[in-house]
């Protein structure tokens, strides 16, 4: 462990740090504009007004609002009864300025310090091609290193993307996730604000990741970022997202929409490990359209939040397109992680793989909900799904709900799932080798997650391990 930590920019800070010290911040609520509570036509018009948007976007928002009203909330999945829209502020604008800052010095000091505590500016220096930082409803910082800008890479907040690149924006916006798709996508479409707009031109390989970090501070806030990522033919890049919020006793609501277009031969990875505080409803729609010979990889880690509903989905629409989804969920203390994956094979020789690992303890519940669909004509398609669940105590619970629909004779589809508890013999063995019980348990849990963790960039793997250790603290006795 120790030599791995040395490579991490925040190794010194991570070592021995309590979860609360790093993540538990509360900043003064001093905002330029905060909408009234609840979701209404008036709030939507205000959002659009403050953003100075073109008319078509306001029309889009209002149409999405109508769709949401008509659809109503999903009748399946986790209990969302405590999520009361009338208590939520759907739009909170921290500052008056229209432009996101290009320098950390231009950001209010308190906010900047929170990001520094999270290690975002430091990581930017060392290991990232570009960084975006969203605070409440708006992106406050967005910067791409010059070398990538010169190659034509676009990395902006979504609002600026709409203003500066209206053609690319309009060509792809809401084509991957239309507001009709599901209730929360419709709500997001009505009130979206912030998020990242990424365009990597033909043939460009960005060999260090782009990162965005989402912060919620106010009580009862809703955050609705909208991320649009386009990989032009032959491009290759990795986009990472992090998020956190202070722990309040009242509920907050995060409902992002992430749309990714992987054009011919591109290779796009999207990684996120959410560590929202336990009062956040995290209901996110993530989807990628993958064209001929392109490849899309999702890494989805769900550690925080009160309730998460998130099923990264991949539409393989071109020949030989490939999709990969790695999912980790850790549910403790009444959390419900309802995560999963969706893969649609709509072209010949498409391939996909899903690996899901979940851990539940102390009243936590983790569910895998998945869909694999093979359309007629997707000759030679192959898909494999593997779900493993680990239960750490008798109050933990886990579910698996995979749907498999096959209309193609030459397709091969497999699904496997296992549920098990911590193996007493393994713990006993490790303890005979001198480890404490808690350490032994943490080691076994890390081993269980290893097939997924090793796919992560190193900094993330270290942070994941550290978070697991923190979650495991107090597991014994």
């Amino acid at each position: 462990m120790s030599d791995v930590n040395e490579l991490h920019p925040d190794a010194a800070k991570l070592e021995g740090m309590r979860h609360t010290e790093q993540y538990d911040f509360k900043l003064a609520e001093d905002y330029f504009f905060k909408s009234e509570r609840g979701l209404s036509r008036r709030v939507i018009e205000q959002i659009s007004y403050y953003k100075g948007e073109p008319q078509w976007m306001l029309d889009f928002r209002l149409r999405a609002f109508e769709i949401a009203e008509k659809k109503g909330r999903p009748k399946w999945g986790p209990n969302l009864d405590d999520l009361n829209f009338d208590e939520i502020f759907f739009y909170v604008r921290p500052t008056e300025q229209q432009q996101t800052a290009g320098s950390w010095d231009d950001i209010p000091e308190e906010v900047r310090r929170t990001y520094e505590r999270l290690g975002v500016p430091q990581a930017e220096q060392r290991a990232l091609a570009g960084v975006g930082a969203q605070y409440e409803s708006e992106m406050v910082y967005h910067k791409l290193k010059e070398e990538w800008e010169k190659l034509g890479v676009i990395f902006l907040d979504t609002d600026t993307g709409l203003k500066e690149h209206p053609e690319i924006f309009r060509e792809h916006f809401a084509t991957v996730v239309p507001p009709e798709d599901n209730y929360f996508a419709a709500v997001n479409s009505a009130v979206w604000s912030g998020g990242s707009f990424v365009y990597v031109p033909e043939g460009v390989h960005v060999d260090v990741p782009l990162q965005a970090y989402f912060l919620l501070n106010a009580q009862n806030i809703g955050q609705f970022e909208r991320t649009l990522i386009i990989g032009a033919p032959g491009s290759k890049f990795h986009y990472i997202e992090g998020c956190t919020a202070p722990a309040y006793t009242t509920n907050s609501f995060h409902s992002g929409v992430i749309e990714i277009v992987c054009q011919e031969g591109s290779d796009v990875r999207y990684s996120t490990i959410q560590n929202w505080s336990h009062n956040v409803y995290n209901l996110v729609t993530q989807r990628a359209i993958v064209e001929k010979d392109a490849s899309m990889g999702w890494l989805d880690g769900n550690l925080g939040s009160k309730v998460t509903m998130k099923y990264p989905s991949t539409y393989l629409v071109g020949e030989r397109a490939h999709g990969e989804i790695l999912s980790i969920a850790f549910a403790t203390d009444g959390q419900h992680q309802d995560a999963g994956a969706k893969v649609i094979h709509a072209a010949p020789h498409t391939t996909s793989s899903v690996v899901s690992k979940s851990i539940s303890k102390t009243g936590g519940r983790s569910s895998y909900r998945g869909l694999v669909q093979i359309h007629e004509g997707a000759t030679g398609a192959r898909s494999n799904v593997e779900c493993d669940a680990l239960l750490l105590d008798e109050t933990a619970r886990t579910d698996t709900f995979p749907y498999i629909e096959i209309n193609e004779k030459t397709a091969h589809v497999g699904h496997e799932a296992t549920v098990s508890k911590l193996d007493d013999e393994q713990i006993f063995y490790l303890m005979t080798r001198g480890l404490g019980e808690e350490e032994a348990m943490a080691l076994i849990v890390r081993g269980f997650l290893d097939p997924v963790a090793k796919e992560l960039p190193l900094e993330y793997a270290v942070e994941l391990n550290r978070l697991i250790e923190l979650e495991m603290e107090g597991s014994v006795g």
């Binding site: 399946w76 007629e376 008798e394 109050t395 619970r397 886990t398 995979p402 004779k409 549920v419």
Partner: protein, 441 residues
């Protein structure tokens, strides 16, 4: 497939009362029927949006325009049925046709065993029937169990007293020669440490009208009881079949069930085991082969409500000729059901472009000291195996016949009634078009 199901004008309180009247039923049964009819009325028809029915082609289970079950046109038993009786390994048999029992033969050596139709059981063993009827399958479950619970006319009743082992298998055959709404009910009670093997078979020669058949199978296994149960559905193609087959398992009891779906136009079977007694075991096998546009739905439920239970589901099937099959399985482990072992496997062969397979193996686990796993695979006949057989001189057709039969054999080989297993194999071969087989059915 856009369709809403509508009610049948013949299903009325008067029709329910008429049955009680006709058979001079005891008051308790009248009130059970009335309650079942109210539940039927209060339960909406499933729609495409009902999760459990999402992949079911509802229209194929429509019974709105059909008359209620009536007397058979002809009370004799056809050559087909006599052949099946001779070829079923069963020692005691009973044949239901329409609402009549048209044949029975039994020479059960063991004392105290009751093997009769439900009507006779109600007069001769009323207390036994009253104690168990509706306890396992009743009107609270689905629209179709409510329909059956309100309107069933006859069925099969088996009771094996404590510590009695019935050596030779018993069997009930259900057949029909006219259309309408048919209702069948089987109640099997195996008392403490008793043993039984039972075959429930549904079969018919083709007839002109459409038959909608709604079956309910109730199985009660007391502590230490053992039951081998085979449900074999090979209706003619003018029949739609729904069957809820549910068992309650007492302490250290064991159920080995096999559910085979081969015939009919559309069939939906729901196979459920409630493991109520510690140390109980349920092995649930299934085999299906849909061809010529058939539509099969299979559901399994392994509900572990107590500790040390074992359950294992294996459902294997093949589809061809623009047919469709769905398998949906659920393992539920309640809080406190520690030391549970529960497994679930579904394997499918998809044999042509126009057919469709859906597989939904599910788990809901609320105890931690458990071993649970499930697996599902779907694919074509493996190319390398076909290639191998062809390299040994077999034609592509024969190679495919062998590989499909071999695939399904894993389930057939575990059917403990050898003649029944052979029969299933012949039906599978006939569906595959193996020459010379159809004539022997």
């Amino acid at each position: 497939m856009s369709a809403t199901l509508t009610d049948n004008p013949n299903v009325t309180a008067a029709a329910v009362a008429a049955i009680s009247e006709r058979y001079a039923e005891p008051a308790w049964l009248r009130s059970e029927r009335e309650a079942a009819f109210r539940a039927y009325q209060n339960t909406p028809f499933p729609t495409e949006r009902t999760e459990e029915w999402r992949y079911t082609q509802l229209k194929r289970f429509d019974f709105s325009g059909l008359e209620l079950a009536k007397e058979p046109n002809d009370e004799s038993i056809s050559e087909r049925i006599s052949m099946r009786i001779d070829d079923s390994d069963a020692e005691g048999v009973m044949v239901h046709k329409g609402n009549k029992v048209v044949h029975r033969q039994a020479s059960i050596k063991e004392a105290g065993v009751v093997f009769t139709d439900l009507r006779t059981a109600l007069t001769e063993h009323e207390e036994l029937v009253r104690e168990h009827l509706y306890k396992v399958v009743n009107a609270t479950q689905t629209k179709y169990t409510a329909l059956n619970s309100a309107l069933w006319e006859n069925g099969t009743f088996v009771y094996v007293p404590a510590n009695v082992e019935v050596e030779l298998p018993l069997g009930a055959f259900t057949t029909a020669d006219s259309g309408g709404v048919g209702l069948g009910r089987t109640l099997i009670v195996v008392d403490v440490n008793a043993r039984l093997t039972f075959l429930d078979e549904f079969t018919s020669d083709p007839f002109d009208e459409h038959l909608f058949f709604d079956a309910a199978t109730e199985i009660v296994l007391k502590d230490g009881a053992k039951l081998r149960y085979v449900s074999l559905q090979n209706w003619s193609r003018n029949v739609a079949h729904i069957n809820k087959l549910r068992a309650h398992l007492g302490r250290d009891s064991r159920l080995e069930s096999v559910t085979v779906s081969l015939g009919g136009d559309a069939a939906r079977v729901e196979v459920e085991s409630q493991l109520e007694g510690p140390g109980s075991e349920s092995e649930m096998l299934g085999l299906y082969f849909a061809d010529e546009g058939q539509h099969f739905n299979q559901f399994t439920l392994q509900h572990h409500s107590t500790e040390r239970g074992f359950s294992d589901v294996l459902f294997k099937g093949a589809v061809r000729d623009a047919s469709s099959s769905t398998y949906s399985g659920m393992i539920v482990v309640d809080p406190g059901a520690q030391k549970t072992d529960a497994y679930q496997t579904n394997r499918n062969l998809l044999l042509d472009e126009e057919s469709e397979v859906v597989s939904i193996p599910q788990l809901e686990i609320a105890a931690n000291d458990v071993k649970c796993s499930h697996g599902s695979t779907t694919g074509p006949v493996p190319e390398d195996q076909r290639f191998y057989l062809m390299s040994r001189g077999l034609t592509p057709e024969v190679a495919e016949h062998l590989l499909v039969t071999g695939f399904l054999y894993e389930v057939m080989s575990r059917v403990t009634l050898p003649k029944v297993a052979e029969y299933v194999e012949r039906v599978v071969q006939a569906k595959l078009g193996v020459p010379g087989v159809k004539e022997k059915l």
